[in-house]
């Protein structure tokens, strides 16, 4: 019995010690991190930022503002959370707010702005945002005529990957219009005598999304931003002409057994091919063209060329990419980006927000070692981006003439997005286009 007392006594003592040690922590650091701290404090202000990237990507974000924060006597405490999109809602409802939150998509951010807990941008930050970002980007952070969000980084979809070496052999050049692209496809087909394009739509529960991206790119390019916005809002139906035309146009490639699925099989194999695997077929030379976002670049690191070497991604190398050529003349980009909003109204937080909106920050962001950030901030110096592919993407993004929109699927209600994924899979499997379009459109009734 004495022995049992020993165990319990020890356990109790440990618990007590820990309780004391742990309880003393909050009191010390809370004073520093208190929201709405008076403006007069001269100690280093702590600003908390809560966002999605973790690990290396998160560390790269932290690196992007580190030297500025140190020079300005502000401690920025970044917390990355893979489940940000779920947890931020809980934290907002529970009033446990970070000073700044970085949203990976505008839909959720708009809902959060609607709660009234987000601070509108102060005059300095607003001036920076107005100066540095196109109207398309500003609009995503606007509600009730006020600007709430600062766009941070960006990503671009709609890249068509190809092999510059193979293009040289075939004597073809990069197309500048959609019609050129179709001609190019036919030319390559006649030279290789087999399928030209490869595509992979398989992505587990989200199988079909690469197809929805391609369709969104075509709609934006062919019909412009207004139609695209109405379509996202549900006012233009899937069954309407602009959308149906986009399906028809893409079908001329994706549903044609003469053109797909190079390196994998017949048309239906598109649905079973994991989206990253197309990199192997392209590097190995079985496939000539594939449409995928900039992130495909990472997949080439593990791919092998026909000669067994790792492909060199460069304009004069084994693999390179061009932006999907415009259908109706004007350049357009479908992509994504992160937006920062402030929950706290304090000078330190406003200072950080103003910095995040500045051209200085954009330059710091794209030069973080090892990172692959791009930005739509027009104050950026594009020449500082060493990676030529990212630099070319950024040139398009910061061009004020470029129409920019978020991926349509991500911006639509999730039931519609899922119906669209499923519809894309059915469409590839050979279901008649009208049936597919009616099916996707009917999902709007469940919203």
């Amino acid at each position: 019995m004495a022995k049992h007392y020993g165990i319990l006594g020890l356990a109790g003592a440990t618990a007590l010690a820990l309780a004391l040690a742990g309880c003393s922590t909050p009191t010390t650091s809370n004073t520093a991190g208190t929201t709405g701290a008076p403006a007069t404090t001269s100690a280093p202000a702590t600003v908390t930022i809560y966002g999605t990237p973790t690990g290396d990507e998160g560390n790269q974000w932290e690196a992007s503002w580190k030297s500025w924060a140190a020079a300005n006597n502000i401690t920025i405490q970044y917390t990355g959370d893979r489940d940000f999109t779920t947890n931020i809602s809980t934290k907002i409802q529970g009033n446990a707010l970070p000073d700044i939150a970085v949203f990976p998509q505008p839909g959720l951010m708009q809902a959060v702005i609607g709660t009234g807990k987000v601070q509108a941008l102060d005059a300095t930050t607003l001036a920076e945002v107005t100066k540095n970002f196109s109207a398309d980007w500003q609009k995503y952070g606007t509600a009730n005529g006020k600007q709430y969000a600062v766009p941070l980084d960006a990503s671009a979809k709609g890249y068509i990957w190809y092999s510059p070496a193979a293009f040289k052999t075939w004597g073809v050049t990069v197309p500048t219009t959609w019609d050129d692209l179709m001609t190019l496809t036919a030319t390559i087909q006649s030279k290789v005598g087999g399928p030209v394009w490869c595509a992979g739509f398989n992505s587990g529960d989200a199988t079909g999304w690469p197809g929805t991206d391609q369709l969104a790119e075509y709609v934006l390019s062919a019909s412009g931003g207004d139609v695209y916005d109405k379509w996202v809002a549900g006012d233009v139906k899937f069954t309407d002409q602009p959308i149906a035309d986009a399906f028809t146009a893409l079908g001329k490639i994706l549903l044609d057994p003469r053109y797909v699925n190079a390196g994998f099989g017949d048309v239906a194999s598109i649905n079973s091919t994991p989206f990253g695997d197309v990199a192997n077929a392209l590097a190995g030379g079985q496939c000539a063209l594939t449409n995928q976002a900039t992130f495909l670049q990472a997949s080439f690191a593990t791919a092998k060329t026909a000669a067994g070497t790792t492909p060199k991604v460069a304009q004069d190398g084994d693999i390179w990419a061009f932006m999907m050529p415009p259908v109706a003349g004007k350049a357009s980009v479908v992509g994504g980006g992160d937006f920062a909003v402030a929950f706290t109204d304090s000078p330190a937080v406003q200072k950080v927000m103003a910095y995040l909106a500045s051209g200085d920050y954009a330059n710091s962001l794209i030069t973080v070692p090892g990172a692959t950030f791009i930005t739509a901030n027009q104050g950026v110096d594009v020449t500082k981006q060493a990676d030529p592919l990212l630099a070319s993407a950024m040139k398009t993004l910061v061009d004020p003439a470029t129409a920019f929109r978020f991926g349509a699927g991500d911006a639509m209600p999730s039931v519609v997005q899922q119906a669209w994924w499923k519809g894309t899979v059915d469409w590839i499997n050979g279901t008649d286009q009208t049936t597919v379009l009616n099916q996707i459109q009917s999902a709007w009734a469940d919203v």
Partner: protein
């Protein structure tokens, strides 16, 4: 102390001992244990294989082409996410887990004793009510508890509890301890009540006749007799809290995150570094294993408590 129940349970124990220790049963148990261990073994073998091997071939090919590296462990140990390292999260996990396992046990012991051996009106209703709380899912508590921690409690204009911090992303472990304690109490009370209630009434009466009060009975009689159950519940609760990610991410900052948070981040934003998880899980599992082996002799006894009552 009466003889009957003990003799009876000894008889049952003897019979089950005979059945369970037949050679066939032993062989079956060993085979089951072996099959059960295969995935863990695979994980362990994988954790020492080079990254390129892990991503391209199965762990069993290791035996044909052995190539050993500690690189995964080195890379995991040096991994930094949101400014914290693996060693820091291990420390955080311990700081979260020990109190979060001990607090509910201490409270539940007192509650269970009162319900089992103090005669007051409505104690059975109270017991059922407490155990019924087990059906409330933890997820439903998150928002109300956050509001409580951030806003505090003010009753009739008097501030009863000021709240922990205006900013939950500040630091502090207390929120996590309290949350885990709250969610653990129903089951802890139930298990410990069953253990305490199975003490023969004659023993309690004898103690009372000898002049012991409730305090003495609790400390010198009930507590020692409940040690196996306490130990087995401690293992349950320890593992549950150790493996928790949800409560920790909602209620603490990145600086106070437990090992599960780093494990979640380890595979990279696009899951490209998943092979590191092999080493990460082994680093994370060492402490729970130590706890399990330290308390396992109580564990089996605790699980069987009441099972052989006949």
């Amino acid at each position: 102390m009466t003889i009957t129940p003990i003799a009876k349970s000894a008889r049952v124990a003897k019979r089950s001992h005979r059945t369970l220790s037949s050679p066939w049963a032993t062989a079956g148990a060993i085979i089951l244990a072996a099959i059960w261990t295969v995935p863990t073994l695979g994980l362990f073998v994988s954790s020492f294989r080079p990254a390129a091997d892990i991503t391209t071939s199965g762990w069993w090919t290791f035996f044909a082409h052995p190539a050993v590296t500690a690189q995964n462990y080195v890379q995991t140990w040096n991994f930094v996410s949101s400014g914290i390292t693996v060693s820091q999260t291990l420390l955080n996990s311990l700081t979260i887990t020990l109190p979060a396992a001990l607090f509910p046990i201490m409270l539940a012991l007192l509650i269970a004793y009162a319900i089992a051996w103090m005669d007051f009106r409505g104690r059975h209703v109270l017991f059922v009510a407490i155990f019924a709380l087990q059906i409330v899912p933890l997820q439903m508590l998150l928002v109300p508890l956050l509001k409580l921690y951030t806003g505090g409690v003010t009753l009739f204009g008097v501030q009863v509890f000021p709240g922990f911090a205006a900013n939950s992303l500040g630091s502090g472990f207390a929120q996590v301890w309290i949350t885990h304690t709250m969610s653990a109490l129903p089951l802890a009370t139930f298990m410990l009540h069953n253990a305490l209630a199975s003490i023969p009434g004659e023993v309690m009466e004898a103690a009372q006749i000898d002049g012991a009060g409730h305090g003495q009975i609790f400390l010198r009689l009930a507590l020692p007799l409940a040690v196996p159950t306490i130990a087995s519940y401690a293992i349950f609760q320890f593992l549950w809290v150790w493996n928790d990610l949800l409560v920790a991410t909602i209620f603490t900052s990145g600086q106070n995150a437990p090992i599960t948070k780093i494990l979640a981040d380890l595979s990279g934003v696009k899951g490209q570094d998943w092979y590191l998880l092999t080493a990460g899980t082994f680093l994370a599992v060492i402490i729970p294993l130590l706890v399990f082996f330290a308390l396992q002799r109580f564990f089996v006894r605790g699980l069987l408590a009441g099972a052989t009552k006949g």
